[in-house]
Symmetry: D2
Subunit: 264 residues, 4 copies
C-alpha cells in the first residue's frame, strides 16, 4: 500500500496498513511532529516491518553511484559534504501553510541524504534562514532560504543549501570531499545539445523539477517496494530514517530560532 | 511486422510483409546493393506505403532537438556539419565479412543523419579509408577507419568521422555550424558523477554502446511504428531515405577506391 | 613601500612607512589582533591615506568579472554566496603556530571576498571547525577544516568552506545566487587539454596554488599600487577593509568556540 | 631580425637578413609560391641556418601539451586528427585579394600543426571549398569555407576544418585520436565565470582572436627566438617546415579545383 495522503494522515494510514498486514511505502515526512512519530515505534520500528519511507533520492542513480564510490574509497575517507537543493519556484502559500515548514517539507530530503552519505549520525545542527523570495512566505510563518550545517561526532561536516526559488531551474547537486579527492553529482540537462554563440557556449536547461529529475529514481524505488511486497528485500530506508530526518528538521528549526547549535 | 533478419533478406521479407498488408519496420540497410534496392520501388516507394526504415538515430532526443533548433534558426542558416561516429570496439571479423563493409553497415546511419540535418541532398562525395585497428579487417576486404566529405549543391559540407574502435568508448557527436553559431550534441555519460583528484577532474564513462545510448530512441521509434500501424502517422523515414543513404554509401566506397570525388 | 614582513610587524612597519610619507601596500592581515589594529585608526583610516591592503583576490579577473556581472544585474538581486577556498596541502605546523589560526591566516581572504561581493556588511557570524587532516594541527591549537556562515542585515547569506588540504589541488570557486540566476567562477586548469579514455573524460589539473592561480591578480594589484604611488588612484581596498575582515575572523573564532551566532 | 613585411617580400627580406648574418624570425607564409620558396634552399635550408618560421601555434601551451602527451603514449599510437580553425569574422576583401587565398593565408597554420602532431608527412591531400559567408570573397577569387583531408603513408588521417567566419568567435580546437583514447585541446574562455539562468548554463565567451588567444604563444616564440639569437637554441621550426606547409597548401588548392586526391 502506498501512503501518499496529506502529511497529517501519513502516520495513521501507515499504522493501519501495517496492522492489516500490508507492506507500506509512505511518502515523506512520516509526520510533522517528532514526538508523535516516536509514538509509533511499537508497530513501525524493527527490521522486519515492511515499511519503506519515500526518500526517493536514495534511489537516484547519480547519488547512489556517488555513495558507492565513497564506499569504494575513491576519495579516501569522507570528510565533508555540500548538498545544494534549490527548487525552481515556490509552491503556493496555501501549501506552505500546511507543509510543516521548509525544514520538514523540503530539507527533510537533504537531511536523509546527508545521513545516507555520511554513514554517521549528525550530533550538532546549526541553521540560519531568510525570507528573500516572497514576503507572503514570511507572513505564512515560514522562510524560503536556509543554510544548515550538520556535524558528526567524528567531525564530519555537511552544509545544506536550500532555496524555494533558484532563478535558474531545479538545482540538485552534491559534493563529497574526502582525504584524497572530491566527488560531485551534478544536475541533469534536458539534452546534451549546447549552443555556441557570440555570448559564449550555452548548455541545455536542467531537468525542470522533481517529476522529471527523479523519474528514474521513482521507478527504482517502486521496484524496491515490489521486492519488499514479495519478501525478496527488506526496506533499505524505513522508520528509523524517518525519525532521524525529522529530528534533524526539528533541530534545524530550533537552531534557526535560537542562533545556537543544537546538540542531538 | 519488424524485419530484423540478416541484411540479405531485408528486402525480400519487407516486400512479402507489405504484400500481406502489414506495416513494416525494416532494419537498416534495406539491402546491400543499391540496384537491387531500387528494383523494389514499385511496391515500396510512395507516401502511403507503411514502411519505416530503422534509422533509429532520427528518434534520438538529442539529435532531434538539434534539428529542431536548426529549423528554429538558432544558428542562422546551416552551413556545415561534423558527425563523429566511433564504435568502442570492432565486431567479429566474421560479421565484418558479411556486413557489406563499413560504409553500408556503420556509416549508413551517418549518411542518413547528414541528410536529415542538412535538409538538402549531397551531390558530391569524397571518402578516404584506412585500416589502423586490426589487420584482419583488411584481410576481410574492409577497413576500420574512414573520413567522408559530403557536399550539397548549395555548398553545405558535411564531414563524417568513422572508426570501428575508438579507444575511449562509444562516441556519437554532432556539430552543426551556421551563420550565427554552432550547435553541438555531445555524448551521454552513465551518471553525472565526476571525480576531482590529483590528475584533474574526471567525468563518468560514456554510455557504452548503441543499446544503452539509443535505448530511448528505440522506444520513440517503436512508438512511431505503432502510430503507423494504427494509421495515426505516416513513416517519417522510409524507402526513399533507404535508397539515398545506400547511394551515398556506394559513392563513398567508390571515392575511397578511385581517390576522386563522386558526383551524384 | 611593500610591507611583507612577518604578520606581527605589519602594523608597525605600515605605520612608520605612512609616517615617512610613503604609499604602502601591506600584506594581509593587517594585524593578528583587532583591538591593536583599531588603535591605528588615527593614521591609517581616511580616504586620503595611501594604504593598499593585500587582498589580492579582488584583483582576480574571474572574481572581479563575477562582481561586475552582479552589479550589472545579470542575476537580479544577489541573495547568497558560496565561497570554496581549499588549499592543496597544509603549511608546516611551525607556520600554523604563528599564523594566527585558520580564520585570520587563510579565511581572511574569503571574509574580504564575501564583503566585496555582498556589498553589505555581515552582522551575524557562525562557524564550526574540525581537525580532520593532521592531528599535529590540533596540537598546535588550530584546526584544518571550517565552515562559516555570514548573514547581512537584509538576510543575504554567505557560506565559506575552508580546508587546509583538499586532496585534489587548489580549489578556489565562488557561486553567487540571485533572484534571476546563478553566477559561478570556477577553477583554472593548467591547459585546456582533456583526455578521453576508458574511465571517462579527464580535464587537466587545476593551477596548483596561489602563486600560479593568482599570478595575474598580483600583477593587477601591483599596477593599482603604482597608480596609488603616482596619485592616479586611491586604494580600492584599505584600512577599513582590513578591520572588517579581522572582525569577521575574530567573530568566527568566537562562534566556533561557543556554538553560538556572534552578532557584530 | 623579425620579418613581418607583406608576404610577397618575406623571402627577399629573409634572404638579405640571413646574408647579413642576422638570425631571422619570418612570419608565415615564407612565400606565396612554392617554386619561388624552393629557390631559396641554398641559403635557408640546413640545420645551422638561424631562421625561425612564425608558426606561432607550435608554441601554444595547450597544443604543445597535447603533443607531449601523444609522445608520452597517453593515447597509445596516434591514428587521426581533427583540427578546427575558424575565424570570428573575415578580413577585408582587399586583404583577401593579396592574401594568397585561404589555404596559404589561413590554413597554412593548420597544415603546420598537422605535420607537428602527426610526426609523419602527409602524402595525400583532398580539399573541398565553398563560399558561404560573403559573395565578395568569391568574386575576389577565394572561398571562405574549406575542409581538407590529409593522409600519411601509414594511413593516419587528418581533417582540417576552416571557416573565415564562425558565428560564435575564434574556434581553435584539436582532437587527436589514438588506439587508447582521445586528447582534446579546447578553446580558452575570457574568464571561468559562467551564468546559470532559465535557458541553461552559459560559459563566458572565447578569447576573441589570435592576438589574445595566442598572446602566450607569441611570448614563448619570442623567447625561443632570443635563444636562437644567442646561439642557445637551434630553430625548432624553420625553412623545411615552411616549404612543406606551402606544398600542402598548393596541393589542397589543386585538389579543390580538380576534385581529385593530390599525391605528394
Amino acid at each position: 500500500m502506498v501512503v501518499a495522503s496529506p502529511t497529517d494522515q501519513h502516520l495513521d494510514h501507515t499504522r493501519r496498513a501495517l496492522a492489516a498486514g500490508k507492506a507500506v511505502m509512505c511518502e515523506k515526512p512520516l509526520d510533522l511532529d517528532l514526538t508523535t512519530a516516536l509514538g509509533a515505534a511499537d508497530v513501525m520500528s524493527g527490521d522486519n516491518v515492511p515499511l519503506l519511507l519515500g526518500f526517493n533520492r536514495r534511489f537516484d542513480r547519480h547519488f547512489s553511484t556517488l555513495k558507492q564510490q565513497i564506499i569504494a574509497g575513491r576519495i579516501g575517507s569522507l570528510e565533508s559534504l555540500l548538498i545544494v537543493s534549490h527548487d525552481p519556484s515556490p509552491p503556493p502559500v496555501a501549501y506552505i501553510k500546511v507543509s510543516g515548514g521548509l525544514f520538514k517539507d523540503m530539507a527533510i530530503h537533504d537531511f536523509d541524504m546527508a545521513r545516507f552519505l555520511l554513514d554517521e549520525e549528525p550530533v550538532e545542527v546549526f541553521a540560519t534562514t531568510a525570507c528573500l523570495v516572497d514576503p507572503a512566505i514570511r507572513e505564512a510563518g515560514d522562510f524560503d532560504t536556509a543554510r544548515t550545517v550538520l556535524k558528526t561526532a567524528s567531525g564530519k561536516i555537511c552544509v545544506i543549501s536550500n532555496s524555494r526559488r533558484s532563478g535558474y531551474g531545479y538545482d540538485q547537486r552534491i559534493e563529497a570531499y574526502g582525504s584524497k579527492g572530491l566527488l560531485k553529482a551534478d544536475n541533469l540537462t534536458e539534452t546534451t545539445v549546447s549552443h555556441w554563440g557570440q555570448d559564449g557556449a550555452q548548455a541545455d536547461t536542467f531537468q525542470n523539477f522533481f517529476l522529471s529529475r527523479y523519474a528514474d529514481a521513482y521507478r527504482a524505488e517502486a521496484d524496491h517496494f515490489s521486492d519488499i511486497i514479495t519478501g525478496a528485500s527488506k526496506p533499505c530506508v524505513g522508520y528509523r530514517d524517518a525519525i532521524r530526518a525529522l529530528a534533524l528538521a526539528e533541530a534545524a528549526a530550533r537552531s534557526a530560532t535560537t542562533g545556537q547549535v543544537v546538540h542531538l
